[in-house]
Symmetry: C2
Subunit: 190 residues, 2 copies
């Protein structure tokens, strides 16, 4: 089954370029994203909420204009392979998840998804073939209204200069950026 405008092979290649390898999660996710997209009324300005940080965010970023950097894609890591696309104004949209019941027809997908087979024992060629064959038939889709906290634009906060490192950061009462206030991310190599 094609993935939107792409053949399965084309999308596999695109995945290698973006995600570094043709991860099953991105390929399965791509069918989920396409199903959610076509469920929305044409022309809907939509945003995305992804319920896992593994793989699925990349399927969203590759197939929609929602990205981590424009904040139209939000991730709440419940560790669940599901996503919602919803009208950015009303919050109405569709949540697409994977059905364990429907998955029983595809043993290699089920073993991968439930992690019952160690990675090195997976037959990845067989897994890819099952994913292409299953397409979006593994998906459950339900109409949802997203929680209000995910709607609306994050306001742009005023900037100050950190009194310690001299870099720009969001204004706060301490006069210092979060890194200088204690949350170090790195040490200097001398």
């Amino acid at each position: 089954m094609n993935i939107g405008q792409y053949t399965f092979e084309e999308f596999k290649k695109k995945t290698e370029e973006f995600h570094s390898y043709a991860a099953p999660g991105v390929l399965v996710g791509a069918y989920m994203v396409e199903l959610a997209k076509k469920s929305l009324p044409q022309g809907t300005l939509f945003e995305a909420l992804v319920e896992t940080k593994k793989c699925l965010p990349d399927a969203v970023q590759m197939l929609t204009l929602c990205s981590a950097g424009n904040n139209w894609m939000k991730i709440v890591d419940h560790g669940k392979y599901a996503l919602a696309l919803y009208d950015k104004h009303t919050g109405h949209g569709f949540r697409v998840s994977l059905s364990l019941k429907k998955m029983t027809a595809y043993d290699e997908i089920l073993a991968w998804f439930m992690r019952t087979k160690p990675k090195k024992e997976q037959d990845v060629e067989r897994l890819w073939r099952q994913i292409e064959k299953a397409g979006d038939s593994l998906c459950d889709s339900i109409p949802i209204c997203i929680e209000k906290r995910f709607l609306g634009h994050t306001p742009s906060y005023p900037h100050m200069v950190c009194s310690k490192c001299g870099e720009a950061c969001p204004e706060n009462n301490q006069g210092k950026c979060l890194a200088c206030a204690g949350e170090a991310l790195y040490s200097l190599r001398l």
Copy 2:
């Protein structure tokens, strides 16, 4: 100044396709990413840490194999326009930030960066021209060693089936997924 293999105009177009519009933050960020990339020894397998969730993550995702979905790009939102690329094994790499001092030669960039001019008063054509002219000359780069907590692969956790919704989720003591345990993300539209 070119952005890696792209002319400025080519990268602007690529940004529209990925990020939805040619955001100044992605364009400035692209020069930062390219500077960090060429500072690393050739062939280094690297990961990325980004210190803001605004725009910069997309420059990283567009110009490296680090992405939100493969977890080679991590975001710690300190609201600072800086990123580090580092060897995924040793943690050694470079942190690139924007220098307020060097920025004083570019009034439109400075006003955008420090948010001293309302968005509707920005001259975006002039801003783009200044960004292209400045290239990576606005950057500060320092050699760093990333904090240990950012190194290493996140282990794959075993999955269970949530006793309430019947979906797969990471194993936990409650027997329910986080959504069913209370953190709802959406309501059903009937």
